[in-house]
Amino acid sequence: MMLVDFSIDIPSGEQNMASKYETVIGLEIHAELSTNSKLFCNCEVKFGSAANTQTCPICLGMPGVLPVMNQRAVEYSTRAALGLNCKIASYSKFDRKNYFYPDLPKGYQISQYDLPLAYDGYVDYELDGETKRVRINRIHLEEDAGKLVHADVTGNPNQSYVDFNRSCVPLLEIVSEPDLRSPEEAIAYWRAVKEILEYVEISDCNMEEGSFRCDANISLRPVGSKELGTRTELKNKNSFQHVLTALEYEEKRQARILDEGGEVIQETVLFDINTGRTASMRSKEEAHDYRYFPEPDLVPFEVDAAEVERIRASLPELPAERRQRFVAEYGIPAYDAEFLTATRQMADFFDETAHLSGDPKASSNWIMGDLSGLLNNAGIEIQDTQVTPDHLSELIQLINDQIISGKIAKSVLPDVFETGNPPKQIVDEKGLSQISDASAIESIVDQVIKENPGPAQDYRDGTQKAIGFLVGQVMKATRGKANPQMVNQLLQQKLSG
């Protein structure tokens, strides 16, 4: 295969394409299913093992082996398809996709051709305050190939090396209609799909580990035209940023070609993160003829409506629905809802805290603010912290019951985070309860007024904010434990009296 570098310099800020052409993008998203074992054999699905230690004759394509379908892979695929609003095929089958490549052990991939597991779905996503919809053409299940690595193994540039640990891992392929109209839309849609797949818990969607990647098809057409232009395909990217940059570059490159009266060639392109450009993978050989035919070693699948409903019923509330409910039920702003539903675990945490404490606003503030801060510093996720919704709810209640001030609470949370002890216990142990007994504070208030005649007089003379200084002094004298509202009240009383 020849790599032809385009070496086209695209001046930045080129504007003419925006008015002349419409960008049309379709995505084929691949997600590895988080099953325990591979799609057709019982090797474990595990990222990061030493090369060729998670293999067996079946996933190595040895003579005489046969595939047997992993039940959970079928179930997960159905869950994903329902989460993506697809119709589930009552009859589907598998096919052989034939081609030669060193990472493809059998010389064919078991995939689905004309009768996939699911079809005709859609995903709604948000971009710039607008809700957009992308239709999903089909979803199918197939096996992943091994991994080809190059000179990094021995430094010999004439060799390549193959690791079959990934061979036969179940892969879900989600094919959209070409409904996307900009690189930003493509990324937003991709993110929305990721979120849904994470919510229905069928894939880790771990882009760094390669369990979530996409191929993008992009073409341009004159504004108003209904026909699709010639498209190029960007393969196997697993970084939102890379794809965004690559698509933006392709957009400009194609516009430049069309502006000059040329024709875009249908081909696969590679994006080079270093040069920031795409280059063509022009092959000496003909385009692939995959010679699809029904897989004789696997029998077809028939799903009945009752089974589909059972799976549908077991799905969790999906992110979009959840966000809407948070706004409606808890009265929190859309922005907060967005933050809190970033992961299913965080959404669960918020839901429970709001429910237990009866104070959704406070729950959201604490999670979005202090708790997230602690999580980020420690580099962990919300499901890994020792802080529980019970703890947070207790903390909120302690504030609302005026047992401690908000400020004191901010110092309690890190303790809960470190020790896993409930807030009440920490407050008691450290004697952090607010002093809310007026008689206890009064004498200190009197003392502070006496020691600070200047500010006291300023206040009496009309400088409202002078009271702040006096409040501060009282708080200092009580080591922060005085109930600030009460302090304020008492000072006002005594100074105006």
Binding site: M62, P63, K106, G107
Partner: protein, 489 residues
């Protein structure tokens, strides 16, 4: 009578009675192999050490007086298309010339469980593609009945060794007749079970929707014993039928009262050798004499079976053989510095001509623009062929035909014309396309003293009907007792 001339069921009695030991039996088999191998060249690999070990284990059981399975200590040969752990499995091809399988086929596990003794791996047409075993990359196996003739194929080695007494039973594989045709040509019993009866896990695939493993034996009783051992649902094979396996020996009764036999007129056409037709018609008369009623049936699409087979089988094979690319195991061409060259040279050097021809045919039939005209069309005709049989079996219990249109032909006689060679399978391929069980049993000799085979077919999972008819025939004739005259070394 020398031990090698006995059947498994006869030997079992002797072993049980401790008249002989399994080790003695195994040793005497290797002695026989030594005496005849130079003439017939049936084996590719001998596994004497392992065989004696298995025999010794069987002997322990017999000595203890344990209840021993029928195949315990029985020396069996295995077609080299079946994966045997720790033993070379070449499929008669150079491309797997050094391939030692790291796992056992399911049928091997089952045979080991019975305590059977594996003598070695037998010669075959490369990747089971052929009707004469001349396509082996290693050696030409000779028919023990006439060493200048072919033993049939593709399981020629497995058939010849049983005929020659160089194995008591053997396993072969049948995709278009590759058990039944060599059984007919070598004068032994050969059976292809219903598709799905025997696990294909560990059977190196030729045509996935047609392949089945089956036994070669000297008589129908042994055939039933091996079937008992190897049949059964296998969770490692998605196409394995989850149906109960009866005790096939229970249907071995000498009586065909009430049994309806169908004779399909399309199987007695001009292309069948007249001596063969005569022999088969006599056989049918014997069956009638045993109480069966005879009825003419029609299988109107018979004439299209070969064309159908020669699209479907090569198409599936072209994909099944894509894994032989020199990357993970087997032969890799040296001096290829670039991947594409490595693929092309490995496959072109590693595969023989017939294999390449079928890969080409299959790739063509599946390629863009031709799929509908060839592959899809063939699968549709396959439906018609199957439904012919469904209709016939509504009326009759079994269908009886000749197995092969000719007796064994001379080595080299048909190698120049592939199409001519393909036509050897014209009577056997329909059963594979329809997934039916079928047996070939010896029913006579030609005037050249070459064996003639009688084929009996039944509806899916009705092996018992076949075995009953075959057993009855055997009990009323002595063709199965005839042996080739081989000179001892």
């Amino acid at each position: 009578m020398p031990l090698y001339e006995l059947t498994a069921h006869e030997l079992h009695e002797k072993l049980k009675a401790r008249e002989i030991t399994a080790v003695e039996l195994t040793q005497s088999m290797y002695h026989r192999i030594g005496a005849v191998e130079e003439q017939i060249d049936g084996y590719l690999t001998l596994t004497e050490e392992g065989a004696l070990e298995s025999a010794a284990v069987a002997d322990e059981g017999f000595q203890r007086g344990d209840e021993m399975p029928p195949l315990a200590g029985i020396p069996i040969a295995i077609k080299d298309v079946i994966c045997t752990k720790g033993v070379l499995t070449t499929c008669g091809s150079k491309i797997l010339g050094n391939f030692v399988s790291p796992y056992d086929a399911t049928v091997m596990t089952k045979l080991h469980q019975q305590g059977a003794v594996m003598l070695g791996k037998t010669n075959m047409d490369e990747f089971a593609m052929g009707s004469s075993t001349e396509n082996s990359a290693y050696q030409t196996t000779r028919n023990p009945w006439n060493l200048e003739t072919i033993p049939g194929g593709s399981s020629g080695g497995s058939s010849a060794v049983v005929a020659a007494g160089a194995a008591i039973c053997s396993l072969g594989s049948d995709t278009g007749g590759s058990i039944r045709q060599p059984a007919a040509l070598c004068g032994v019993v050969g059976m292809k079970p219903t598709y799905g009866r025997v696990s294909r896990f560990g059977l190196v695939a030729f045509a996935s929707s047609l392949d089945q493993i089956g036994p070669f034996s000297k008589d129908v009783t042994d055939c039933a014993l091996v079937l008992n051992a190897i049949c059964g649902h296998d969770p490692m094979d998605s196409t394995s039928a989850d149906v109960p396996v009866p005790d096939f020996t229970k249907c071995l009764i000498n009586d065909l009262e009430g049994v309806k036999i169908g004779i399909p007129k399309e199987y007695f056409t001009a292309g069948i050798d007249s001596e063969i037709e005569e022999s088969v018609r006599s056989a049918i008369a014997v069956l009638q004499g045993a109480g069966a009623t005879i009825e003419e049936v029609s299988l109107p699409h018979t004439d299209y079976a070969m064309a159908t087979y020669y699209i479907i089988a090569p198409a599936e094979a072209s994909a099944n053989l894509a894994r032989y690319d020199g990357v993970r195991y087997g032969f890799r061409a040296t001096n290829a510095d670039e991947l594409g060259d490595m693929y092309r040279q490995t496959r072109s050097q590693g595969f023989g001509e017939e294999v390449k021809r079928r890969i080409m045919l299959g790739t063509y039939a599946l390629s863009s623009g031709y799929y509908d005209a060839y592959y899809l069309k063939a699968q549709q005709v396959r439906t018609l062929i199957k439904s012919d049989f469904d209709d016939a079996f509504e009326k009759v219990d079994v269908v009886v035909t000749p197995t092969s249109p000719t007796a064994a032909f001379k080595i080299g006689e048909r190698t120049a014309d592939p199409l001519q060679m393909y036509l050897s399978d014209v009577l056997t391929t329909p059963a594979n396309l329809a997934g039916l069980p079928g047996i070939s049993i010896p029913c006579g000799l030609t005037s050249d003293d070459l064996p003639i085979g009688l084929q009996i077919l039944a509806a899916p999972f009705e092996e018992e009907k076949i075995l009953r008819a075959a057993y009855t025939f055997e009990q009323n004739t002595d063709h199965h007792r005839k042996r080739p005259k081989l000179s001892s070394k």
